[in-house]
Amino acid sequence: MTLLLFLEQTLNGLQQGVMLFLMAAGLTLVFGIMHLLNLAHGSLYMVGAYVCATVTQASGSFLIGVLAALGASAATGMVIEVLAMRRLYAREHLDQVLATFGIILFFNELVKILWGPQALFLNPPDILNGTMEILPGTPYPTYRLFIIAIGLIVALGLRHLILNTRVGMLIRAGATHREMVGALGVNIDWLYTVVFGLGAMLAGLSGALAGPMLAIQVGMGENILILTFVVIIVGGVGSIRGALVGALLVGLVDTYTRAFLPTGLREIMDPATADSVGGAVSGMGIYILMAVVLLFKPSGLFQAYGNAS
């Protein structure tokens, strides 16, 4: 029984990690290549979820909803890039934080004006809205398995895009030798817009996929954004591979501490204390992980430059 529970919690950790990866991949791409600290990444996640919920309701198809969310978030991202971000590349990180924080406020109000303050409704499509007994005696939500699969497919796709395609080559080159790539006749501005749109699309995908599991409401992106920053710091800023490993690590550590720490503490102290201490400490698990990683590898688990992938 305990082993089964452990395996189930491992699946939960992987699933959470995959969701974080989708967010972190976009954020780390933008930070690694353009050196832009984008706090508004969570707003694009929110846009993805809202558009997905609205289009799914109107069309009756979750697939169309997700595709619309991808398009809408990518388009929103590109518009933000052209209108606002482009002015920030040469500025300090603090200026970027200030400006992108402003964008968060802007989007929160805009979404409230367009959709109202009430949370939206979105369910998984019927074929995914059940449970599968992949471990004996523990039915596991099919939708969460679906998310794990999608996340891994996206990870492989990104790897292929960056290592084996012309766009990927330009992205890698642009990250390290911006002026040289420009001198060779590549339109760097346009390249950055595309990369930002790609990152936005990944955030939108993450939001659309998260929609059926959570409350689609104003400010939903802020909760996940903090975890996403932990992921890219653990994984190494700018590295997609680091984002994947970091996301899975953070997902697993967070799930394990939440799942097993309070019960573990009950063995050594009285239940009431164990519950409150466990509740408090399990919230810190991922930050302890981050501190430990930074202690031994100050720039994260994977280096971005040189072997950017």
Binding site: N12, N108, N123, P124, T131, M213, L214, T255, A272, G279
Partner: protein
């Protein structure tokens, strides 16, 4: 920003000069501080809409007197609420403050109001600290004491023969009060007591543990978006069929049910109010609310509405003369208004003595909604009333 107070002043002056034969020389000023933006905004919007509806139904006059309402958004931030209340008391010179949704904000605001010898009417928050030793003659709570709904669920679990319960709440003061309230009445065994992070998004780890603990029922208090997350994920894990879910009304108000949908069907929750309570005052309220706002009223809306009704009765009793503080206070305490709960009275600590109902989430032709099953408590007095020396 500077022109704003002067514009308000102008409006107030215009209101005065246009006002025909008002009962007193000066209008009654009410300050409403509530959450209108950011997380939890729908609660504050419901509160405000309910209050405004009652005022509108009386042609803008509460108790027949000219009424000026100053509504300000606190964005759910303690700092904002403190600043707003100071301004309302010192600059706007309000007679009454109302509207706060969250207990931590209420703790910062209510003592400030009562110390200034003004009145506070709570439309939602009922922290235990202000119901017992910290009670005040100028503080009236028209909603409930915080523990009430959780206590009712504990009692209901007993009534349903639940022997083993798994309980869950966020790790903050109201979360702890909630589980304390549940345990005060629940007689069975607690097989798991979990405090989650405030604002937590994913509950997969807790749900897996909960399944392994094999409880007869699960009690949870997760207000706002957290509750939406939890109920959806609980349903997706296929647990709702085997293990019933109990909770206070906060995770099942009409707005939240719209977002959760059928995942909440069959859940039992406790409330002192429901839109389907069978009495004339409530029928009138529900009809007017739906006509005005095109949605069903939540308990927050009813609480806002009743705060205005209570004020209406008390202002009428003193003919709009707010300098008659003792008369106004006595009239508030008497609570002579047509409550949408069917009946209403204050206990010694100015908190309601009332029935608490259990409701079931059902499917109706207008969508997923609450249906009242019956009362769990009759004339329930909160646990702190005895500690209040009034």
């Amino acid at each position: 920003m500077k022109f704003l107070p002067s514009v308000l002043g102008l409006c107030a002056a215009a209101g005065l000069s246009l006002g025909v034969a008002s009962a007193a020389d000066t209008p009654v000023k009410i300050g409403m501080i509530t959450t209108l933006s950011g997380g939890g905004a729908s609660l504050g919007i419901d509160t405000r809409d309910g209050f405004d509806l009652a005022v509108k139904m009386r042609d803008g006059k509460l108790g027949g007197a000219e009424t000026e309402i100053i509504t300000v958004d606190d964005a759910r931030k303690v700092g904002n609420a403190k600043q707003i209340v100071t301004r309302m008391l010192k600059q706007d010179n309000v007679d009454i403050v109302t509207g706060i949704v969250w207990s931590n904000l209420a703790m910062a605001v209510i003592p400030t109001v009562t110390k200034a010898d003004k009145f506070y009417i709570s439309t939602n928050a009922g922290p235990s600290a202000l119901a017992g030793k910290g009670c005040d003659k100028n503080y009236f709570n028209v909603a409930y004491q915080n523990d009430n709904l959780h206590e009712a669920m504990g009692q209901y679990a007993n009534d349903q023969g639940v022997k083993k319960a798994f309980i869950l709440a966020p790790n903050y003061p109201a979360g702890k009060d909630s589980l304390t309230g549940f345990k005060r009445y629940f007689k069975g065994e607690i097989v798991g007591e979990v405090y989650t992070k405030l604002g937590q998004v994913d509950y997969a780890a807790e749900i897996a543990n909960l399944r392994a603990a094999k409880p007869d029922a699960v009690f949870f208090f997760l207000p706002g978006g957290m509750g939406i997350n939890f109920v959806k994920q609980y349903n997706q894990a296929g647990l709702k069929e085997t293990t019933p879910l109990y909770g206070p009304a906060f995770s099942f108000d009409e707005g939240i049910l719209k977002a959760v949908g059928e995942a909440a069907l069959g859940v039992h929750n406790s409330s002192q109010y429901s839109w389907d309570l069978d009495n004339d005052a409530n029928k009138k309220f529900v009809q007017a609310f739906q006509a005005e706002y095109k949605r069903k009223p939540s308990l927050y809306a009813a609480q806002g509405y009743e705060a205005a009704l209570l004020l209406d009765s008390a202002i009428a009793a003193v003919n709009g003369d707010m300098s008659n503080k003792d008369g106004f206070r006595d009239a508030l305490k008497a609570a002579k208004f047509d409550s949408v709960r069917g009946k209403f009275k204050f206990g010694n600590n100015n908190h309601p003595i009332q029935d608490i109902y259990v409701r079931e989430v059902v499917k109706s032709d207008t969508g997923v909604t609450n249906k009242t099953v019956g009362p769990v408590f009759k004339d329930h007095v909160d646990a702190y009333a005895a500690m209040c020396k009034m």
